[in-house]
C-alpha cells in the first residue's frame, strides 16, 4: 500500500485543461479537485479516484469557468459561421447559373468517384470474410523452359502440402482442394446437375473459417463419401436447411454420400466459391488418388503460416524445398512458388484458376480516371469562382475596410465552397440511389451489393467531400481575399493577367484530360473489338453442346444418341469430346512428362488432353495441318497434337511430326496428325499445347452443328430425342458461341464502365465551359451592344466570342496528344495481339472535343449576339 503522502492525482489532465480555465479560478479549482480526490481515494480506491479526477478535469470545460478570450473565440466562431452561411446562401441564390453548374458538375464528379471507389472497395475486399487470410498462401507452379516460364499453373501435386508443413518451419497447416467436374447428384429419382464441387481435406474448415450451420466440423471430411452442402444447395435438394444425415447419390459413382454439414453460402468476394464439398478421402477410395502421387498436379494447395510476417522466410525456405524436390526427382522443370491468398483475385491469372479472376490494372485505371473526373469538376469550380472576381471585388474591399481580417474572408469563401460541395453531395447520393442498380449490372458487382451499410462508403464520402471542398475552396479563398481595398474601391481593379492565364490554363487542363479519355476509350474499344475478331481456330457458331446423362448405364447409350441426332436433316454433324473450347481449363485433362521418343531432355511441361471421336474436328471446323483425322474405329494408340505442343518438343515442321512417337503414360503413342492451334479461352491468352486422344464409345459432351435456320426448333427436337433415349436424365445444353462470350464478359464490363466515365467527364468539362462562356459574355455585354450598333453581324459576334475559347480547346488538344500517344501505346504493349495506332484514333476525338466545345460556346453566345443592343446599352 502506498503512503498517504505519495498519493497524488495524475498531473496531466489538469495540465491539459489549465490553459483554457480562467486563471482567477485556478487556485480554488485545484484545491477543490485535490480535496475530492483524497476523499475518493478513501471511499472508492486509488484507480477509481484517479479516473474520477480525470473526468472532473475535462468537465471543467464549461463557459462559466473558461478564459474570457477563449469564450469569445468559441462564441465568435459560431456567430461567424452562422454569418458566413447566411452570406454564402445569398451568393448562391443570386447566381443561380453558377450554383447549378457547380452543384451539377461537382455532383456528377462525386457520383463517378464514389461509384468507382465502391467498385474498387469490392475488388480489394476479396477474402476479407476470412480473418486468417492474411497468413494464408496458395502454392502454385511455374513451368520453365530454361529460364523462360512457359506456363503458370495454380494447381500442384497432392504430396506437396504435407511436405511443406513437414519441412518448412513457418508453415503450420495445409489444405488441399481438388476441383471436380460438374456432376449430377440424385435425390430419390430426381437428377440435378451440380457445379462448383470441390474435394477437400479435413483441415478445410480450420483454414477457410466457414462456420458449420448444421453438423459437427470436427468430424467433417475425415471419411470417404462425406459431403457438405451450402445452405442454398440444401434448400435446393431437400427443401430445408438442416439436411445433416440425409443422403445424396453421386450418380457417376452410383453411391450415396452422407450430408455431414451445412455451410453458409460463400460470399461473392472470395475466389473459391463452392456449392458442394466432398471429402478428399473419397477420391482416394474411388479414383485411386494418393498422398504420394507426384505424377498429377491437380490440387489447389493452401498453406497456413505462423504469421503474415513469416512470408519472406517462407518463400526462401520454399525455394530451398524446390531444389530438394528436383534432387529427389519429384519435380523436374517446375518451380514451386507461393502467392498470398489475398492477392489471388486481382493478381493471379494462371491456368486452372477456380474462377475468372479480376485485374488490379483495370481497378487502378478506373481509379485514375475517377480521380481525373473529380479534378475536372474541381477545376470547374475554381474557374467559375475566380471568373466572378470582379463581382466579388467590391464586396471584399468593403469587408476589409470595415475590419474583416484575411482569415475571416477566407473562411467566407471556404463556406461557399463547402455549401456547393454539400449540395453536390446531396445530388450525388440521390444520383447513386438511382444509378446503383444499373452500375451493379454494368460493373459486375453482385446484385445484393449495397453501399449504405458500409462504414467505408460513408467515410470515403466524407473524405471525398472534404477533399473536394478543400481543393475547390483553397484557390478562390486565397485569390479573392487578397484584393487591395484601395484599388478596388477606387475603381482601378481589373482582372489580372495572371488570373486570366490561370483560368485558361485550367480549361486547357480540363480539355486535355477529356481528349485523353476520349482517345483511350476509342483505343480500348478498337482493341477489344480486335481481340474478338481474332480467328479462334474453330467455328463456334450454330453449335449446340449437349451434356452426357449422369449414370454409366445411360452413358453407354450416348453413341446411339449421336446416331439418332444425325438422322435429323437440320443436324450437320455431331462430335463427341471430353471438353469443348470455351470451357474453363479445369474441365480439361492435363498431364506432364510427355516426351518425344529419343529426346533425352526431361521436361515436365503441362499438356492439355481432349478425348474426342472421329467427327469432332469436322464439327468444330478445326484445320488439320498434316497427317489424318481419326477414322471410325474401335480404338487406336495414335494421337493428334497441335502446333503449340510441337513447339515444346522443338519440332518446327508439322509435316515431319507425323509418325513420330511419344513417350506417354508408360507407353508409346504415335502422332497421327497435327491440327492448327485454337484458343481454348479468350484470344488474349496464348495457345495451349494440346493432345487429342481417340475415344469412340464415351465422351462427356456432344457438339451438334446445326443449320442456322430454325435453330430453336432443332434444339427442341434434340431435347425430345435426348429425353426419349435417356428418360429421367436432365437435359443440359449450351451454345458454344455464348459459352465463349463469357470469356469476354469482364472486357465488356470494363469497356462499358470506361465509356460512361468518359461521357461524364466530357459532360462535366462542357458544363464548366458553358459556365465560363456565360460569365465572359456577361462581362462583354456592353462591348457587344456597341459592336452591334456599329454594324457587326450576329455571325461575326459569335465567331469573335467563341474564337477565344476554341483557341484554348485547340491548345488543350495539342497538349494532350503527345502524352496520350505515349500512355495509350504503353497500355497496348500489355497485349500480345494489338491494333496499330492509326491517325484517326487521335483525330476523331480531337474533332469531337472541338465540336462539343463549339456547340457549347455557340449555344451561349448566339443568344446575346442576336439580342437587341438597346437592352445592353440603356444603362449608360
Amino acid at each position: 500500500m502506498k503512503k498517504e503522502s505519495q498519493i497524488h492525482p495524475p498531473a496531466w489532465p489538469l495540465k491539459l485543461v489549465r490553459g483554457l480555465i480562467n486563471p482567477e479560478f485556478l487556485e480554488e479549482i485545484e484545491g477543490d479537485l485535490y480535496e475530492v480526490f483524497q476523499d475518493n481515494v478513501d471511499r472508492h480506491g486509488l484507480s477509481k479516484a484517479r479516473f474520477r479526477y480525470t473526468l472532473d478535469c475535462f468537465k471543467l470545460i464549461r463557459p462559466a469557468l473558461l478564459k474570457r478570450n477563449f469564450k469569445i473565440g468559441v462564441m465568435g466562431f459560431f456567430s461567424l459561421l452562422r454569418n458566413n452561411l447566411k452570406v454564402a446562401t445569398r451568393v448562391l441564390q443570386r447566381d443561380r447559373l453558377f450554383t447549378m453548374v457547380n452543384v451539377l458538375g461537382m455532383g456528377l464528379g462525386l457520383v463517378i468517384s464514389l461509384l468507382i471507389l465502391l467498385y474498387a472497395f469490392y475488388e480489394f475486399s476479396y477474402e476479407s470474410y476470412n480473418p486468417g487470410s492474411a497468413r494464408m498462401v496458395r502454392v502454385t507452379m511455374d513451368y520453365l523452359d530454361g529460364e523462360t516460364v512457359v506456363d503458370q499453373d495454380c494447381e500442384t501435386y497432392p504430396p506437396l502440402g504435407p511436405r511443406i508443413v513437414r519441412d518448412i518451419p513457418e508453415a503450420v497447416d495445409f489444405v488441399r482442394v481438388y476441383h471436380l467436374d460438374d456432376i449430377a447428384l440424385r435425390k430419390d429419382d430426381r437428377y440435378v446437375r451440380a457445379d462448383r464441387i470441390f474435394a477437400v481435406d479435413s483441415s478445410f474448415q480450420r483454414l477457410f473459417n466457414y462456420p458449420f450451420l448444421y453438423g459437427d466440423p470436427s468430424n467433417a471430411f475425415h471419411e470417404p463419401n462425406q459431403m457438405a452442402l451450402t445452405e442454398s444447395q440444401a434448400l435446393k435438394y431437400f427443401g430445408k436447411s438442416d439436411a445433416v444425415g440425409e443422403l445424396l447419390w453421386y450418380s457417376a459413382l452410383d453411391r450415396p454420400f452422407e450430408i455431414i454439414g451445412i455451410l453458409p453460402d460463400p460470399p461473392s468476394n472470395t475466389h473459391l466459391k463452392f456449392n458442394v464439398l466432398v471429402s478428399l478421402e473419397t477420391l482416394k477410395e474411388h479414383f485411386g488418388e494418393s498422398d504420394e502421387n507426384w505424377d498429377g498436379n491437380n490440387t489447389f494447395t493452401y498453406i497456413q503460416l505462423n504469421s503474415a510476417a513469416d512470408y519472406a522466410a517462407f518463400e526462401s525456405h520454399l525455394a530451398d524445398l524446390n531444389d530438394q524436390l528436383i534432387l529427389e526427382e519429384k519435380i523436374r522443370s517446375e518451380k514451386v512458388i507461393a502467392q498470398p491468398v489475398d492477392d489471388i483475385h486481382l493478381y493471379s491469372h494462371k491456368s486452372f484458376e477456380a474462377e475468372e479472376n479480376g485485374d488490379a490494372k483495370t481497378v487502378w485505371i478506373l481509379l485514375g480516371v475517377a480521380l481525373l473526373v473529380i479534378l475536372i469538376a474541381i477545376v470547374n469550380y475554381i474557374n467559375l469562382s475566380t471568373s466572378k472576381s470582379l463581382d466579388r471585388a467590391k464586396e471584399v474591399g468593403i469587408r476589409k475596410v470595415i475590419g474583416s481580417s484575411l482569415g475571416q474572408l477566407r473562411w467566407q469563401f471556404f463556406t461557399e465552397s463547402f455549401l456547393i460541395n454539400l449540395l453536390a453531395g446531396v445530388v450525388a447520393i440521390v444520383l447513386i440511389v438511382v444509378i446503383l442498380p444499373y452500375f451493379r449490372m454494368l460493373s459486375g458487382l453482385p446484385p445484393n451489393f449495397s453501399p449504405w451499410e458500409l462504414g467505408q462508403f460513408w467515410m470515403t464520402f466524407l473524405l471525398v467531400l472534404g477533399t473536394s471542398t478543400l481543393l475547390s475552396g483553397l484557390f478562390p479563398a486565397f485569390v479573392l481575399s487578397g484584393f487591395r481595398p484601395v484599388s478596388v474601391l477606387n475603381g482601378k481593379f481589373s482582372h489580372s493577367k495572371i488570373g486570366q492565364h490561370l483560368r485558361k490554363g485550367l480549361v486547357i487542363f480540363q480539355f486535355a484530360i477529356t481528349t485523353f479519355l476520349l482517345v483511350l476509350t476509342l483505343t480500348i474499344d478498337r482493341q477489344l473489338d480486335f481481340i474478338r475478331s481474332i480467328d479462334l481456330g474453330l467455328d463456334t457458331e450454330h453449335t449446340l453442346v449437349v451434356e452426357a446423362p449422369p449414370t454409366e448405364e445411360m452413358q453407354a447409350q450416348f453413341t446411339s444418341f449421336k446416331q439418332q441426332l444425325l438422322s435429323d436433316p437440320e443436324v450437320i454433324s455431331v462430335g463427341l469430346s471430353s471438353c469443348v473450347p470455351g470451357l474453363p481449363s479445369h474441365q480439361m485433362g492435363t498431364t506432364t512428362g510427355i516426351t518425344l521418343d529419343g529426346d533425352t531432355e526431361k521436361h515436365n511441361y503441362n499438356f492439355y488432353i481432349y478425348s474426342i471421336d472421329h467427327d469432332f474436328l469436322r464439327t468444330m471446323k478445326m484445320d488439320l495441318l498434316s497427317g489424318e483425322d481419326f477414322r471410325d474405329q474401335k480404338e487406336t494408340d495414335q494421337v493428334l497434337v497441335n502446333e503449340a505442343a510441337l513447339d515444346l518438343w522443338r519440332v518446327s515442321d508439322p509435316g515431319s511430326a507425323v509418325g513420330l512417337e511419344l513417350n506417354m503414360w508408360g507407353g508409346k503413342r504415335q502422332i497421327r496428325g497435327v491440327f492448327k492451334n485454337f484458343h481454348q479461352g479468350s484470344a488474349k491468352s496464348d495457345f495451349l499445347p494440346m493432345i487429342f486422344l481417340y475415344n469412340r464409345t464415351f465422351n462427356e459432351l456432344a457438339s451438334v452443328r446445326v443449320n442456322p435456320q430454325d435453330a430453336r426448333e432443332t434444339v427442341e427436337r434434340v431435347r425430345e430425342k435426348f429425353e426419349r433415349v435417356f428418360p429421367g436424365a436432365p437435359f443440359e445444353y449450351f451454345f458454344l458461341d455464348q459459352e465463349f462470350d463469357k470469356q469476354y464478359r469482364a472486357d465488356a464490363q470494363f469497356r462499358s464502365v470506361f465509356s460512361y466515365l468518359t461521357i461524364f467527364a466530357i459532360l462535366i468539362a462542357c458544363m464548366g465551359l458553358f459556365g465560363l462562356v456565360s460569365f465572359s459574355v456577361a462581362k462583354r455585354k456592353k462591348e457587344i451592344g456597341v459592336r452591334k450598333v456599329l454594324g457587326a453581324s450576329t455571325r461575326q459576334l459569335v465567331s469573335l466570342l467563341s474564337g477565344d475559347f476554341l483557341g484554348i480547346v485547340l491548345i488543350s488538344i495539342l497538349v494532350a496528344m503527345p502524352v496520350t500517344y505515349l500512355l495509350v501505346r504503353k497500355w497496348l504493349t500489355s497485349f500480345a495481339n494489338r491494333i496499330d495506332l492509326e491517325v484517326w484514333i487521335f483525330a476523331f476525338p480531337a474533332v469531337v472535343v472541338l465540336a462539343l466545345a463549339l456547340l457549347t460556346t455557340i449555344l451561349r453566345t448566339s443568344r446575346l449576339a442576336s439580342s437587341n443592343p438597346v437592352f445592353s446599352l440603356r444603362d449608360e
Partner: protein
Amino acid sequence: MRKFDYLILRTISDIDEAYAVSITRYLEQSESRMTSIPQVLSALKVLEKMGFIRSTPVLGSEVRNGHRKRIYSLTQWGVRCMEKGQYQDITEERQYFYKTPGFNSV
C-alpha cells in the same frame, strides 16, 4: 429559476462553511443526486457574477495541498431569490435598480 441554482442557494444558506466541496457533498447526501465539482463550481461562478452570492478566500489546508478555498455566502438578492424561487423576476428587478453594465452578457 433552474432547480440546481435554487438548490445551491439553499445549500449556502443551510451549511456553515459553504465552498464547492462542501456544497457538492451536501447536495449528494440531502438530494441523493450525483453532482460533480465542475458542475457546482460553474453554477457558483454564474450566481456570483449575477450578484446572488459573494465569496471570501480562505487559506488552504494540507487536505487541499495548500490551495486556497472560497467560502460563499448569500447576498440580500440571493436571499430574496431563494425565498421567492423566481430567478428571472429577481434578475430583472436588480437590473432595473442597479443598471448593471454587461448584465445581459451572462
